[in-house]
Amino acid sequence: MILKFKEDAARTAFLTKVRSEREDIYRGLRPARRLPQVVATGLNQEQIDWVNRHVPGFGKAYADVQFETFEPAQA
């Protein structure tokens, strides 16, 4: 999943909360360098549910999307 925040301050506040309450989830979060967003990887369903419950008020979570190659073998 990818988390989106309006500004850096909101992202920082949320990361601080996660770090203090769920160190296990915090380890799977990678703050983006370019935008006030966070990429979450390697989380199990319980951890994803926790993030979805707690991110409102700070930002918004977007589900991951699996893309596929547009390859000739599928024809």
């Binding site: 999943m1 990818i2 988390l3 989106k4 990678r30 983006a32 360098r33 370019r34 935008l35 967003q37 990429v39 979450a40 990887t41 977007y62 589900a63 991951d64 999307v65 699996q66 893309f67 596929e68 190659t69 547009f70 390859e71 000739p72 599928q74 024809a75």
Partner: protein, 405 residues
């Protein structure tokens, strides 16, 4: 009218003769007149065309229809080891069709980086000698393993964009001297996001020197608007951030139209089947055509090339342009002959062309690069929602880039 093979010692002279005799350049006459890289013209011609060719010093050969060799060999019986290998069409012929070799007189893409976001690149391919490989190791899902390709697809795309035949490889790509960044991905939006973020960071820190182009031959197989990818998804944000940063971003249009996925009428240029980011105004979206430069013929899989106008497009109808795909190309660590390469094989041709353009004019914005590519396409007769502005023309695009202030 019958089919003939025409040979001349000087392939440039043959090209000129073909243009003068059959129409300028490669104007259709029944089927496609075509000069292969090996300097052989194959065309349907009238008797007066044949006479004109012969009077100009060309050798003209009638086509031959062979019988099926059943049971007993009637004509010859060569030992298996003496059989000449079949000469397949392939990437060199495609590059001639988009006039890449003509552009190489001006530039071969040196100094420009092409990031190929895909399934990786086989590290033993001679098309990618060490000097072509960026040392950048993107800290994404495949950190430390970007130069592996367990599927084959990424190696194909990278070769089409920027392979080189200068060091034992079989094929040149469109920009044979460009530097390649292998961005092997799980193709999850989160991993692609990380790759883009890493690329932008590397640019900001000047770890990537020179212009950057990003090639993306993936997307969604769907026949209706994908609910999983709203227009405010952060995946779009990071793609647009790259474009804001001066990076042309090229996407495959998709393979959705005909029997791969949606079973729409192959002759029709609607309904839309280019979705989400692949259809955004600010990216270049690329479809594919067959050797005869159509994607409306159900006898070739190119009829699957996704149709516009594009789910998110507002100003620029999608696809923006098309490129031909057919014949032999790299797949994984080897070579494969295929009827088509999907729109996956068309996208990296345009990424390579963007690299050629930036090599001659590195200050051009992504919008200017896109405009040059669109405006120099060779127009086709099909509707824009099938073929965009037409088939890309590398020589014309590079020439336009040189004259753009």
């Amino acid at each position: 009218m019958a089919k003939y093979f025409v040979k001349m010692e000087d392939s440039e002279e043959l090209m000129h003769l073909a243009s003068v005799t059959l129409g300028s350049p490669f104007e259709r006459r029944g089927s496609s007149p075509y000069v292969s890289e090996r300097g052989v013209l194959i065309a349907d011609m009238e008797e007066d065309d044949v006479a004109a060719m012969e009077n100009s010093g060309a050798q003209v050969f009638e086509d031959i229809e062979f019988d099926h060799l059943s049971g007993q060999a009637e004509y010859w019986e060569p030992a298996p080891t003496e059989a000449a290998p079949a000469v397949a069409l392939g990437l060199p012929d495609v590059l001639e069709q988009i006039r890449a070799p003509d552009a190489w007189a001006t530039t071969r893409g040196r100094g420009v980086n092409i990031a190929v976001v895909d399934t990786g690149i086989c590290d033993t391919l001679q098309e990618f000698p060490v000097w072509k490989r960026s040392s950048l190791d993107l800290q994404s899902a495949y950190a430390g393993h970007h130069w592996k390709d367990s599927k084959g697809h990424g190696s194909m795309c990278a070769t089409i964009a920027a392979g080189t035949a200068a060091h034992g490889g079989r094929f040149n790509g469109v920009a044979p001297e460009a530097t390649v960044i292998s961005a092997r991905s799980t193709l999850l939006a989160s991993d692609i996001y990380t790759i883009y973020d890493e690329l932008l960071n590397a640019r900001a820190n000047e770890v990537i020197e020179g212009p950057l182009v990003i090639s993306n031959s993936y997307g969604l197989y769907t026949c209706s608007p994908p609910l999983s990818l709203p227009v405010n998804h952060p995946y779009l944000d990071i793609v647009l951030a790259a474009i804001d940063d001066g990076v042309p971003v090229v996407f495959a249009a998709g393979n959705n139209h005909y029997d791969v996925k949606c079973n729409h009428n192959p002759a029709a240029c609607q309904p839309n089947s280019i979705w989400a980011v692949n259809s955004h105004d600010r990216v270049l979206s690329v479809g594919t055509v067959n050797q005869a430069e159509t994607n409306q013929d159900p006898s070739t899989p190119h009829a699957n090339s996704s149709r516009g106008p594009g789910q998110w497009a507002q100003e620029y109808l999608k696809p923006d342009c098309v490129a031909p795909t057919y014949g032999e190309v790299v797949w994984g660590c080897g070579y494969r002959v295929m009827d088509w390469w999907g729109t996956s094989g068309a996208c990296p041709q345009v990424a390579g062309l963007a690299a050629l353009i930036l090599a001659v004019n590195p200050l051009l914005s992504p919008h200017e690069v896109a405009e040059i590519i669109r405006n120099t396409c060779r127009a086709l007769t099909a509707a824009p929602t099938c073929v965009g502005r037409g088939i890309i023309d590398c020589a014309a695009a590079v020439s336009a880039a040189e004259s753009t202030p």
